[in-house]
Amino acid sequence: MTSNESFSQFHWSRLLGRAVVILIVGALVFYAVEPWLPWNARARPRTIVVYGFSILGDVMNKGIFPAFQKEWQARTGQDVTLIASFAGSGTITNQIILGVPAQVGILSTELDAQRLVDARVLPFPTWRNLPHNGTVNLTPFIILTRAGNPKQLRDFADLTRPGVGVVHADPRTSGGALWGILAEYGSAQQLGSSDADAEKQLAGVWKNVVAQASSARGARTQFENGFGDALVTYEQEALYDITRKKFNGELVYPRSTIESEHTVVVIDRNIAPDERALVNGFVEFLWSAPAQKIFVEYGFRSVDDAVNGDALTAIEKPFRVADLGGWAAVKKNIIDEIWKQKIISQNTNP
């Protein structure tokens, strides 16, 4: 020990410097560890874990969750917290299959719900036992353009014109992108075109895709950051911004378009027996009048026409996935055989 004294001569300034560094590091460690310390772990309120598709972020966090917390508190006297993660519907489905602790999933398409059955996460299509076959809300697919619509885009057919840049979510991870494909293809059929012309319209739109994001919300952010002339997305995205007075663009209603239906799944394997009543309470709440009203306030269309009111823009020829033959047929005939095999494999665009 005596050798140590001559090695480092005793300097007050050095000691002070060292003390400051230790203090800073100590404070940082405390800041990091604090939430996990025992006195903070005391009786946390019961929690519901929700995974939802991308555009649900605001309506759930700011609208539905607080409303349910209040309702549950009034009904049972219990506090409840809800934590949620939002990403493309396909991404979330993959995460649920791989084992994230989701108790409730809100998926953009029933196709993704079916994948949960195929992966044996769900024993059978359990969502069909929920109200409205599991569909919690709707929104038609629309075209969003730059303010003033400088390229005069009026319908999906206009998106096939050369020189028009289209921003689209990625169908491999986004449910919204699948709805977009069905809208681009199906609208032509609904307006009387042949299958071949419908295919031509879909191919034409995809030739113009300049940017793809992994989710509809991500595509929206890309569009806001200046990519492209048009974005194919949920009407909700535009209506919500209009009510917030944050909208700067033009909302174009195609003459014919698809109304997307969003599916709620309850992941039983992630629900402990004593949590079941709470989770069921939450799922039932999603179809209650107050919750449906909140969805409409945030730009969705309700499954209950009485809640929708008259303010919504009527679409000339709306259609649903059932009109195209249902998801199984659509997946095989349109998504796989046309989009995947004929269009995307021959397209040099990203």
């Binding site: 050798s3 940082l28 460690v29 800041y31 990091a32 560890v33 604090e34 939430p35 996990w36 874990v49 991308s54 972020g57 934590i83 949620a84 993660s85 939002f86 990403a87 995460q95 299959i97 791989l98 084992g99 994230v100 602790p101 994001a213 992994s214 989710s215 919300r217 991500g218 929206r220 952010t221 806001e224």
Partner: protein
């Protein structure tokens, strides 16, 4: 390796000739490449005003993400600090068949894309994974838990401590250690008074590099964390999620903190290296 480069630049600094042209050229290249993107974060943060910045930062979600990232970074630095130093010691001191191969393997995480690390962890521990198919039915799975995030960070940052400590050990004369034994030092004393002082610099910079890389890790984390706020969402995941959702202010506030932190960390590293070179 980074360490050697940095010490070299510090010790070999020439008697500054006045090179306006080369310096100007360097700045012209660095400005759009490095400096302006970094500045953009802080300019954007300043534009939203102090109030906006503070409120974005003090949201419970952002606070959790920052604390969780720091916690994981501390744990990673401690665990990999010990593991990395031990690995360096064994690889440097002992000769055994397969040593060269092992030397390559332990350094591999530097070169493997982090997304591949995330994928491989899922293919090991996930429900369809090699271990996971047995463990998941028993209810044991680190994936989508804080432990999974830690595993990913340990993998990705493993080589940094090793790289900082092993060169020092390689150059250290064995004779010092032996000399200690001849004057009657115990194994612990030889370690404490011969090996440890020599390694101090390497250990410090290795731990700092590990910490910094863990703090910023994204590619592997995004796959194994499940991205759940208040559970497994790290600061980089928070930034990505908020940015994709269009909440650029929220994303940028946390980004500014991370950028400032890494700036401080590397400044500390440079200062420390300068000091050790002087000594």
């Amino acid at each position: 390796m980074l360490l050697t480069i940095m010490t070299a630049t510090i010790s070999n600094r020439p008697r500054a000739p006045r090179g306006l042209v080369p310096i100007g050229l360097l700045l012209a290249v660095m400005l759009p490449l490095l400096l302006m993107p970094l500045a953009a974060i802080f300019v954007f943060a300043a534009r939203s005003g102090l109030d906006g910045f503070v409120s974005a930062l003090s949201s419970p979600e952002a606070q959790f993400a920052l604390r969780f990232s720091l916690l994981i970074a501390f744990l990673t630095a401690i665990i990999n600090g010990i593991l990395g130093a031990y690995t360096a010691y064994v690889l440097s001191k002992y000769r055994f068949p397969g040593r060269d191969a092992l030397n390559v393997i332990v350094n591999l995480p530097v070169a493997i894309p982090t997304v591949v690390v995330g994928t491989s962890l899922l293919l090991l521990w996930g429900p369809i994974g090699i271990l996971g198919q047995f463990l998941v039915p028993l209810g044991v799975s680190p994936m989508f838990m804080p432990a999974g995030v830690l595993l990913a960070h340990l993998f990705v940052t493993f080589p940094y401590m090793l790289g900082a400590v092993k060169p020092v050990l390689d150059e250290l004369e064995v004779t010092y250690e032996e000399a200690a034994y001849t004057i009657g030092a115990s194994q612990w004393e030889a370690f404490r008074f011969v090996l440890l002082p020599a390694l101090r610099g390497g250990l410090f910079s290795g731990a700092l590099l590990t910490f910094a890389h863990s703090l910023g890790e994204f590619g592997a984390t995004v796959l194994v964390s499940g991205n759940l706020p208040f559970r497994t969402q790290t600061a980089p995941l928070y930034i990505f999620a908020q940015f994709e959702a269009g909440n650029i202010e929220a994303a940028n506030a946390v980004a500014a903190v991370l950028a400032a932190l890494s700036f401080v960390l590397f400044f500390a590293l440079m200062q420390f290296n300068k000091k050790t070179v002087r000594e």
